[in-house]
Subunit: 215 residues, 2 copies
Amino acid sequence: MSGDAQISRIRPGRRTDIRRENERAILDAAEKVFAEAGFGGATMQLIADMAGLPKANLHYYFATKEDLYRRVVQQIFEIWLDAASSFDDAPGPVEGIGAYIDAKMDISRRHPHGSKVWASEVMHGAPVIQDYLETTLRDWTEGRIAVIQRWIDEGKMRPVNPRHLLYMLWATTQHYADFSHQIQTLNGGKPLTDRQWAEAKASVKDMVLRGIGAI
Amino acid sequence: MSGDAQISRIRPGRRTDIRRENERAILDAAEKVFAEAGFGGATMQLIADMAGLPKANLHYYFATKEDLYRRVVQQIFEIWLDAASSFDDAPGPVEGIGAYIDAKMDISRRHPHGSKVWASEVMHGAPVIQDYLETTLRDWTEGRIAVIQRWIDEGKMRPVNPRHLLYMLWATTQHYADFSHQIQTLNGGKPLTDRQWAEAKASVKDMVLRGIGAI
DNA sequence: TTTCATCTTGACCATACGGTCAGGAAACGA
DNA sequence: TCGTTTCCTGACCGTATGGTCAAGATGAAA
């Protein structure tokens, strides 16, 4: 666990805000702790300390550790899906896939913890979000495959396998979040700068879009 | 945890073999349990059951859970490094990177558990193998960047950023191991067939090698 | 056969963890 | 001001886990 202090948290007076703010603080702390320690390694005490609340208070807002974890994972899943809109209403792969890579790379930078929790959940067999994989994600995937196939049919890109293209997009963009520690180590121990993030985005877009013959 | 039975284990009579076989059975079981449950979620009892040995016997061969985990991670790291040889002695990117993708994809298929343990270790900040990242992996990376740069200088591929190319190779190939559960779900719940694995390898090689202008 | 090192294992222990609860404090509406 | 709901929290509990240990079984060397 890193040595940084607890999540910033304000203490509003209004009743409804109390609940909202405390749940927010707990979810933020939980996301970070679950990402850094895994579900099994995370403890309610650690999350409580980072949220700046006594442990018993967590159980007032979230019945069990599993409930809290489920909420964290669902939250991440929705962020993933929001990035999907980049695909829609795009005239071709350069705009659609280019925007999707931009969006996913931004998420990797802004929500690295969430991405790790998602990766960990899937690696452990998706015990909590298996139904999401089988419904929402599958539908989303089929829809995008159809879009990509249409672009191929229209001659806007080479006839690559759309499914493996999607896997490459997910893998490459999420790698910058999930393996951020390794990347930072190979970057002299320093986090990527704004310029380096821009370079990463440009490199990924360049290699992918050329790889599929869109440019 | 999946419901499959314990790791196959033979019971040799010879003294030296006893140690070797038991360590092998324990390491195999540990790799699987650590991959499926994470370090914190794994229990020595679970590993012992899967190895077909009493828990106390694990502690005879491996002093602590950390020791056992460290051995598992080191084992995986060496497998990664062996695949590096694909890069060496290649006349150009088509052969070198093509062979590297082949090797990494084969590892993803044959050692999915190891890949997951590695991913989990890095995601949690590499508490056990940080020194490997800073020495062996960094050196290896710098060496391959130099090779790629040479290929670029010789006009054998486009001038892409070699570092981000390596990240894309790692991300894409390891995705098929780390996210195998998600891939299987999106494949109708069935593991990829031989034919599908071949298709995956071909797709990755095609997109990457075209992306870097090697073909 | 005897001796010795290696291997095996059930029983046990201290600790840490998720979760509970009762009693009090604070906010809100009337 | 008063009553009610919501929020807060220290103290506590049962369980599961990593690890220990001492006594016994087994194989190899003499």
